[in-house]
């Protein structure tokens, strides 16, 4: 079975964790084929613009109904006001049956019944989501179970987080820099170490993480996870 649990990060970075059970993750290449069903209305990629449907760049972790200048249905705008964010989980539910999740959405699409199709197309969309989401790490990138097991100090994480919140919004909004609120701590820790070990591209993140200790990364992961609600 393909697993949704690991999705938010692992689709983008294909992380393999020693000591953890092997997880099967979405296949973005197959997802590109599935995406053809979406492409008559939606564009994604550097040249994308709004068409019948909004641009899907940075869709993962974005607030729903957040693409500028797109005329959304009242239904999806209300869902966004109620806090709907597009995560792997919420996208999966939406793509399975859009009208069931958001009645009166303008999206006229009967849904993707196959779980495999949904997982793969979300993996494909993840590759266009944000600097962090789009960044790739080598398949062999490994974080030791010891590092993942470190218990983060939330209070210390809150102090350290002020260095992050100059760019990454505490509210979880994404206006061009990825949201980092509510990530699974394992995903967060893995991403930080990938930057720190220069296995993931981004000069600012590599610089910031280069001086974070394992405990500090764990503290940040615990703090940002705690902001989920």
């Amino acid at each position: 079975m393909k697993s949704i649990k690991w999705f938010s990060l692992s689709v983008a970075v294909s992380v393999f964790v020693t000591g953890a059970a092997a997880e099967v993750v979405g296949d973005p290449e197959r997802g590109q084929q599935v995406y053809k069903k979406c492409a008559s209305c939606h564009m994604v990629g550097p040249e994308a613009r709004n068409r019948v449907g909004p641009v899907l760049n940075n869709i993962l972790s974005a607030r729903a109904a957040g693409v500028p200048e797109f005329k959304y249905s009242e239904a999806i705008k209300e869902a966004a006001q109620d806090g709907l964010h597009w995560t792997a989980e919420t996208l999966d539910a939406f793509l399975q049956d859009p009208k069931q999740m958001v009645p009166r959405t303008k999206m006229s699409f009967r849904g993707l019944k196959s779980e495999e199709d949904r997982i793969d197309v979300i993996a494909y969309l993840a590759s266009f989501s944000g600097g962090a989401m789009a960044a790739q790490v080598d398949e062999g990138f490994v974080i030791s179970a010891d590092i993942l097991a470190i218990e983060g100090d939330v209070e210390y994480g809150e102090y350290l987080s002020s260095e992050c919140t100059t760019c990454h919004q505490e509210s979880g909004s994404d206006d061009g820099i990825p949201a980092i609120v509510g990530w699974e701590t394992d995903d967060f820790v893995t991403a930080m170490h990938a930057y720190k070990q220069k296995n993931r591209e981004h000069p600012v993140m590599q610089m910031v993480t280069s001086r974070l200790s394992n405990e500090e990364i764990a503290a940040l992961a615990a703090y940002f996870k705690s902001l989920e609600n």
Partner: protein, 424 residues
């Protein structure tokens, strides 16, 4: 082995957080009082963090004359027509919601013995800790022929708001094939790449609206921030439009005549249509009035941004003389969070963690052609010292440059939310 070493360092850093004994308050008032002067990247952030994190245990008052704050960062994008003035305006409603008492008035005096601040409206505010984040003022007689009375004829546009609008209006009113001149400032000054991003955005506007116009830059410096990146971009996007005259070619030997609209570089006089004079800078006036400056700036201790002159007075951002950090909104915001943690610790006994600073400056050269420079810093006994840094490189792909620009938009949304609270 590596892991063990990192574990050790991490534990040591966390353990060095100190629990300060709360300060004894002067006249026995119930809650400790913090007054913050200046509601920009330093002051608004410090006020919001102290109020938010102390959860009502500290009485925080922010003194800021304007009701809508227009950021200086991103104002060049307004000149280029890429952002609207409304995009740059922020209200203080979010700070009030966080529990900050926002007073729209001018601070005119500081009595450090009595620990009071006098406002132009007549009120006096007592403080236990005073945080000054007044930004910049201009050094008198820095550019021959220019003083503040000339700022309408020859705007500096180096404080956000009306000056930026004035410069834009003058740019739009330029005759066909006219000349836009800039007198660039000597170091140190607010936003090191700012004048050159401005040149880029002015060129961007002129290329579309007045393509035979020319830009002259008189610069007292031999080189400037991100120079190779800007010069590459100017050659690629605005070939033949920009004439940069550095120190070696007399760019520092400048005088202006605001009534005749002339600029003289190395005794050669040129008639110009717009003249953007960015004079040498110094700490905002209230820092001088408070007596915490030494020369043009206010020397501070790197660990908490307290001034060398007075342990209960802190100076943030552009006005401070701290060491290696550039004068930028990002830097002020970073310093404010270190300061807020230290001030709260001193007043309430909350944990004080070791100081850490960071800065990144993005600049836009043309549509979707963004570049950036950044560094991390730490507090030493002498100064805020640079640890590590990076800069965009020449010859980057269009995709990388576009990503960098989009990231700068994300940063703008992020830092303004961090300063003023999330937009409702």
């Amino acid at each position: 082995m590596t892991i063990n070493r990192r574990l050790f360092i991490g534990t040591a850093a966390a353990a060095s957080a100190t629990l300060a004994a709360p300060m004894v308050l002067a006249d026995g008032h119930a809650e400790p009082r913090v007054v913050v002067i200046g509601g920009g990247a330093g002051g608004a952030t410090a006020a919001r963090y102290i109020a938010k994190d102390s959860k009502g245990a500290v009485d925080v008052t922010l003194v800021e004359p304007t009701r809508t704050y227009f950021t200086c960062f991103f104002s060049n994008l307004y000149l280029g027509g890429i952002k609207q003035m409304d995009d740059l305006g922020h209200s203080y409603g979010g700070l009030a919601a966080a529990g900050v008492n926002v007073v729209h008035d001018w601070a005119v005096d500081v009595d450090r013995d009595a620990k009071t601040v006098s406002l132009a409206g007549g009120a006096t505010l007592g403080y236990d800790k005073l945080i000054l984040s007044p930004g910049i003022d201009f050094v008198d007689n820095a550019v021959a022929g220019w003083d503040l009375n000339a700022q309408n004829a020859m705007p500096h546009a180096y404080k956000g708001g009306s000056q930026t609008e004035l410069l834009k209006a003058q740019l739009m009113a330029m005759p066909e094939g006219g000349t836009f001149a800039m007198v660039a400032p000597p170091n140190p000054y607010r936003c090191p790449p700012g004048p050159y991003e401005r040149v880029s955005m002015v060129a961007h506007y002129l290329k579309a609206n007045n393509p035979t116009a020319k830009i002259i830059v008189a610069d007292p410096k031999p080189k400037f921030s991100k120079m190779a990146l800007f010069q590459e971009g100017w050659a690629d996007h605005y070939e033949g439009m920009i004439d940069w005259i550095g120190e070696d070619f007399g760019g520092g030997n400048v005088s202006v005549d605001p009534s005749g609209m002339t600029l003289s570089i190395d005794d050669e006089e040129t008639k110009v249509d717009v003249c953007n004079v960015i004079p040498a800078m110094k700490a905002g006036r209230i820092a001088q009035i408070a007596g915490v400056t030494d020369g043009n700036w206010a020397p501070v201790n790197a660990a908490d941004m307290s001034t060398k002159a007075d342990a209960d007075v802190y100076v943030l951002g552009d006005a401070s003389q701290q060491g290696d950090m550039p004068k930028s909104g990002f830097a002020a915001n970073s310093q404010a969070k270190v300061c807020a943690n230290a001030v709260r610790g001193a007043l309430t006994g909350s944990k004080v963690f070791p100081a850490k600073f960071a800065n990144t400056c993005w600049s836009l050269i043309d549509t979707n052609d963004g570049v950036k420079v950044g560094a991390t810093y730490e507090a030493t006994d002498e100064k805020i010292a640079k640890v590590d840094g990076f800069i965009s490189t020449t010859g980057e792909s269009a995709e990388v440059r576009q990503t960098t620009y989009e990231e700068s938009e994300g940063w703008y949304a992020g830092i303004t939310a961090d300063m003023f609270g999330a937009k409702v």
